[in-house]
């Protein structure tokens, strides 16, 4: 079981939860399982073709998956997955 941290801007899509516990051995599995549970997230995270949106940053244990193995990046039990949104406010 891994912990997925939901940024404030996406929390309405998961019933307001700050974190969601999800099973999966790769970050792709985990995020797809999350979307299955909360379909409203799908449009935010994935393109219509099922790829991760370019504006969505995913971090596993503090490291950007773009520089690991992308959606195939393994996540250990108790891993920490963060969805990082760009924010404009200043």
């Amino acid at each position: 079981m891994s912990t997925v941290w939901i940024p404030q801007v996406l929390r309405a899509n998961v019933g307001g939860a700050k974190t969601v516990e999800v099973d999966g051995s790769t970050v792709g599995d985990i995020v797809r399982a999350l979307v299955e549970r909360h379909p409203a997230l799908g449009g935010q995270l994935f393109t219509p073709d099922g790829d991760l949106n370019r504006f969505v940053n995913l971090y596993v244990d503090g490291q950007d998956v773009r520089y690991l193995q992308g959606l195939d990046t393994p996540v250990g039990s108790g891993g920490d997955v963060r969805i990082l949104p760009a924010m404009a406010g200043g």
Partner: protein
């Protein structure tokens, strides 16, 4: 039988190793130079000292030397004006357990006579010494650091939620030139967090309001106001001549434009953004760490990134993030500590928690990759369309040659 001065001097010479100025000069030039300490009085130090030396008057050696030289086995060389006071000070350090302390024979006078390099310390007025006394007490800042701050130029993009607290503390710290880019006027709804403005200035231009507050706080600061919206046509001119930029804007377009121009000009940007109870903070140091496009290759759709005017923000969140930005600015200017370059700090006000993520330079970044640099150098900057970045913003060939200095524009 009481000892004479000559006896004490003889004893000190027997116990303390002495180096000639020539020997010390050679040691300072090596990869592991000794710690050099000037033990003369402050009034002598102010007339000139050996570059790289720390200053502890002989009368303060016992109290202060452990702070400057924590390692009892570190090689230390002391000097005074003629080589006598430094001998006795070295004896004192030996009593404190320092094992490798020497004295420079002939002192600063001989050093100077032999034509070796020396410099005059930065000078502050008596009023400045009082104003910045809490900085001067910190060894990592001191007179040299304070003089550097007074000589430095920082550009704030936006005098809003982030820029307000940052501008107050940077001004108080004595950053000598503060430029402010903002085209907006003070609105009543700003005052919940934009603390550089005041109730009686609603309707006034933000740059003018900020200038009044800063000048009232610290007359040492020159405020340069740029009442313009930062756009592709003026960004290169606006940032020219500044050493550090604090990004406190509230649109993606401005943030990408600023990034591209700052990367091209080689100016570090201290970045922060906020959303309700959350904040993000990092330092984009061109070519040493990632840039904004490395972190966010493309902006999110507007519905996923509403600004403060739409989503709201707890007033203290930009206050906290803006001051953390000011902290990074001061570290960059002083060359101390570890900046957040390559690290993204997330703040959550509800948990009162900080989280750190590791950031990397994107080897294919259209703004800061080697290919992008080479393309700019050859006068054929990359075009967003050709590099596949979805950000609809400029990647022009910026350069800051020929723009007037910030002071000239004051």
């Amino acid at each position: 039988m009481p000892k004479s001065y000559a006896d004490l001097l003889r004893e000190a010479r027997a116990q303390v190793r002495e180096f000639t100025p020539g020997e010390v000069d050679l040691q300072l030039d090596t990869d592991s130079p000794p710690v050099l300490i000037d033990v003369r009085e402050a009034s002598e130090w102010e007339q000139g000292f050996i570059p790289g030396a720390a200053h502890i008057s002989k009368s303060y050696i016992e109290q202060q030397v452990e702070g400057v030289v924590p390692d009892r086995d570190a090689p230390v060389v002391l000097y005074c004006a003629g080589g006598v006071r430094s001998l006795f000070a070295a004896q004192t350090m030996q009593q404190l357990g320092y094992t490798n302390v020497a004295s420079m024979s002939g002192g600063f006078q001989q050093w100077k006579t032999q034509g070796r390099s020396w410099k005059i310390p930065a000078a502050l007025s008596p009023e400045q010494k009082q104003r910045y006394s809490r900085h001067l007490l910190i060894p990592e800042v001191g007179i040299d650091g304070q003089a550097r701050l007074l000589d430095s130029k920082v550009l704030l993009i936006g005098a809003g939620g982030l820029g307000s607290p940052a501008s107050l503390y940077l001004a108080a710290a004595g950053v000598g030139t503060i430029g402010i880019v903002d085209f907006d006027v003070v609105d009543l709804s700003n005052l919940q967090r934009q603390v550089v403005h005041t109730n009686d200035r609603v309707g006034e231009r933000k740059v003018d309001s900020a200038r009044k507050t800063i000048e009232a706080l610290n007359p040492d600061v020159t405020v340069v106001t740029h009442e313009e919206m930062l756009v592709a046509d003026n960004v290169e001119r606006l940032i020219a001549g500044y050493e550090v930029i604090l990004d406190g804007t509230d649109t993606f377009e401005t943030r990408y434009l600023l990034n591209d121009a700052a990367v091209a000009a080689g100016i570090p940007v201290v970045h922060a953004s906020v959303f309700r109870f959350e904040g993000q903070l990092t330092v984009f140091k061109p070519y040493e760490g990632p840039c904004y496009r490395c972190l966010y290759p493309t902006p999110p759709p507007p519905e996923l990134a509403p600004g403060c005017s739409v989503a709201g923000v707890l007033g203290v969140v930009p206050g906290i993030m803006g001051l953390l930005q000011a902290n990074e600015v001061l570290k960059l200017l002083l060359g101390i500590g570890d900046t957040l370059a390559g690290r993204l700090l997330l703040f959550d006000a509800l948990d009162a928690s900080f989280t750190e993520l590791r950031l990397r330079r994107d080897p294919n970044c259209p703004a800061c990759s080697d290919a992008a640099v080479e393309a700019r150098r050859s006068g054929r900057p990359l075009d967003v369309a050709t590099v596949g970045a979805d950000a609809p913003f400029l990647l022009g060939s910026f350069g800051t040659v020929g723009n007037p200095s910030p002071e000239a524009r004051a």
